[in-house]
């Protein structure tokens, strides 16, 4: 079956778990894990899905249309009869049939109607029993005007994100405190070359994300490069401002060595790592997780002696 028939699913990335064969690109079918909606798709080995190593493949829309869906893997998708889908407005419905492989724009059938993949907000698998545990740590409810809704003392890195605590440059402007997030050579590492190293530090990851966003080699569609750079830097800055409370971000880093000055420092990402990590800019939540999750890291390696010898990983 040609992927053209699944176009609506690709538009939202909801086709996770489809086993695909891309003519001329792959020697064997792979399981599609994510499609960015731009021009990059992530696959995993179908035998190890969903925990398998992700393989990043650059494909364009023509490749997709020429691809063949050869099946679905068991796991989260496809839905099975008896699974519960959660729709808008907290509506839950039990799946009675899934029209796999027939190209229907509304493949999910319940007794109340038919739905497309993008109608589904959450899925509860049949037989799953989800145990929710919520904890208020160490305090009685003393609040006589509302309630303790978060209460934490010592919590693991699994629960808390990194906190952005830069050196603040404070000034006064009409009585309003001005706080600027200055990112320069003292903020973190500037050189992501081809040594073997992992970077877990939030500041390093922020600089990496910036260098990645402004690296024009990243973008296949040259006519859109300027616009994409602008959008990604904006996404990065919006996130940094939200996370830190600063009112603006000032970058003193350039990836153009001819523009290096005493104040503005040169930084780079090795070419082997460029173009391959668009996943971090897929959306704001991916970027947040990459930058602030203590488990996310950048692994620097090189392409001199193996095929897939580097990865950027985000938790």
């Amino acid at each position: 079956m040609k992927l053209r028939e699944y176009e609506n699913r690709f538009s939202t990335g909801n086709i996770m778990g489809a086993i695909m064969y891309i003519e001329g690109k792959m020697s064997e079918p792979l399981a599609l894990r994510m499609f960015s909606g731009e021009d990059v798709a992530w696959f995993t080995n179908k035998n190890t899905y969903p925990a398998g190593k992700i393989i990043m493949v650059r494909i364009d829309s023509n490749d997709l249309l020429d691809s063949e869906v050869t099946g679905f893997v068991a796991g989260l998708y496809p839905l099975m009869e008896g699974d519960v889908i959660c729709l808008q407005d907290n509506v839950e419905e039990v799946v009675t049939r899934v029209k796999e492989g027939n190209g229907s724009p509304y493949p999910i059938v319940t007794k109340n109607g038919q739905y497309s993949w993008k109608d589904v907000l959450k899925v509860k698998k049949k037989g799953d029993v989800e145990k929710i545990v919520q904890v208020r740590q160490g305090v009685f409810e003393t609040n006589s005007s509302s309630t303790h809704s978060i209460s934490i003392e010592q919590v693991d890195s699994e629960y808390l994100l990194d906190v952005l605590m830069p050196n603040w440059s404070s000034d006064k402007n009409d009585g309003i405190e001005m706080n600027i997030l200055r990112i320069d050579k003292n903020f973190g590492n500037l050189e992501f070359g081809w040594e073997y190293k992992r970077y877990y530090n939030m500041n390093d990851k922020i600089i990496y994300a910036y260098l990645y966003a402004i690296g024009s080699e990243v973008y296949k569609h040259k006519s859109k490069t300027e616009q994409i750079i602008k959008e990604r830097v904006q996404m990065l800055e919006d996130l940094l401002l939200e996370h830190s409370g600063a009112i603006s971000v000032q970058w003193y880093i350039t990836n153009d060595c001819s523009k290096e000055t005493d104040e503005c420092s040169f930084g780079f990402i090795d070419h082997a790592s460029l173009c391959r990590n668009n996943e971090i800019f897929l959306n704001k939540e991916n970027l947040r997780s990459f930058l602030f999750n203590k488990k996310s890291y950048i692994e620097i390696d090189n392409d001199n002696d193996c095929k897939y010898c580097y990865d950027d990983v985000y938790a």
């Binding site: 929710i132 919520q134 009685f140 409810e141 006589s144 005007s145 303790h148 934490i152 629960y159 409370g245």
Partner: protein
């Protein structure tokens, strides 16, 4: 553990230090609120300019017999956060707490730091008689003399700070007292808080937004829902962390009672209120509580 009970399909365990563990497997179908914030008086001699309850000297006290009547169906283990006004100025406060204790209700009380000099002795007696568990103290200055005395007999003192009013740096001084438990409240644009809201308040909230992460993992920090919203506390949590520590929106597990006006409401800043005479407490909660969707 001091109490364990089932509330519909939710298991609740409460421990001596106030830790609460809530466990459930599907959307919570509660029979009664886990905790209720109760105002028992509008009387207070402090006249804080930002008081959202608009408390003032010589204002009315609640008829506690009416209150005891509407909460009579609450089972042991439910927490009440009793406040005002100045709740300690209510002439029947000790009687109320004695009755609640006999029913196994967990009573906690909120008072202002400035009242400790006058009411410190009563508070100590209430603690020593186990009439109250948690004591919330609204911190308004850095003279902690009376607080130090109280800390000698209880580990369940919670310092209340208001983002927009309190200086965020006072947390540093509270930490020095040892075993500090802090509750950060959002600024309520309600009651006198509407008129008081100004640029200084806005700037103060902004400083809280920036500097509160300094205290993570250094002190026990709590936030109410309004503070969570105003300070965007969600930004510091992983999804797993949020699911574990976020105890729910207002009016999912909790509610408010204005015992002076004899009315129920989702929270103390809710405009929609229902009279005691129009509904029982359990009916009001079950029919109106906010829907909680399991992720």
């Amino acid at each position: 553990m001091i109490v364990e009970y089932m509330n519909g399909n939710v298991k609740v365990q409460l421990f001596a230090d106030g830790t609460k563990i809530r466990t459930f497997t599907d959307n919570p179908n509660l029979i009664h609120p886990e905790s209720i914030d109760i105002k028992i008086t509008n009387n207070c001699d402090l006249g804080c300019a930002y008081c959202h309850e608009q408390s003032a000297l010589n204002n009315n006290h609640a008829d506690l017999s009416k209150l005891l009547e509407v909460i009579k169906d609450l089972p042991a283990g439910v927490e009440l956060a009793i406040g005002g006004g100045n709740p300690l100025s209510h002439p029947d406060i000790v009687y109320l707490l004695e009755v609640l204790k006999s029913k196994g209700i967990i009573s906690n009380i909120t008072m202002n730091q400035q009242h400790l000099s006058v009411y410190g002795r009563i508070i100590k007696e209430l603690i020593n008689n186990d009439f109250i568990k948690g004591v919330g103290i609204s911190i308004v200055n850095d003279d902690f003399t009376n607080i130090k005395q109280l800390k000698k007999i209880s580990n369940n003192i919670v310092y209340h700070l208001i983002a927009g009013i309190s200086d965020v740096n006072i947390i540093e001084k509270l930490i020095e007292l040892g075993n500090a438990k802090i509750l950060v409240l959002g600024y309520k644009k309600f009651g006198r808080g509407i008129e008081y809201y100004n640029q200084e308040v806005i700037n103060n909230i902004r400083s809280w937004y920036m500097y509160i992460p300094r205290y993570f993992n250094r002190v026990l920090l709590s936030f109410d829902n309004l503070a969570i919203e105003q300070l965007n506390i969600r930004r510091f949590f992983t999804s797993i962390g949020w699911d574990r520590f976020y105890m729910g929106d207002d009016f999912t597990f909790t509610m408010y009672i204005d015992a002076v006006e004899q009315k129920y409401a989702p929270t103390s800043r809710s405009v929609d209120r229902v009279s005691f005479s129009d509904s029982t407490l359990l009916d009001y909660f079950q029919k109106n509580r906010k829907y909680y969707l399991v992720k």
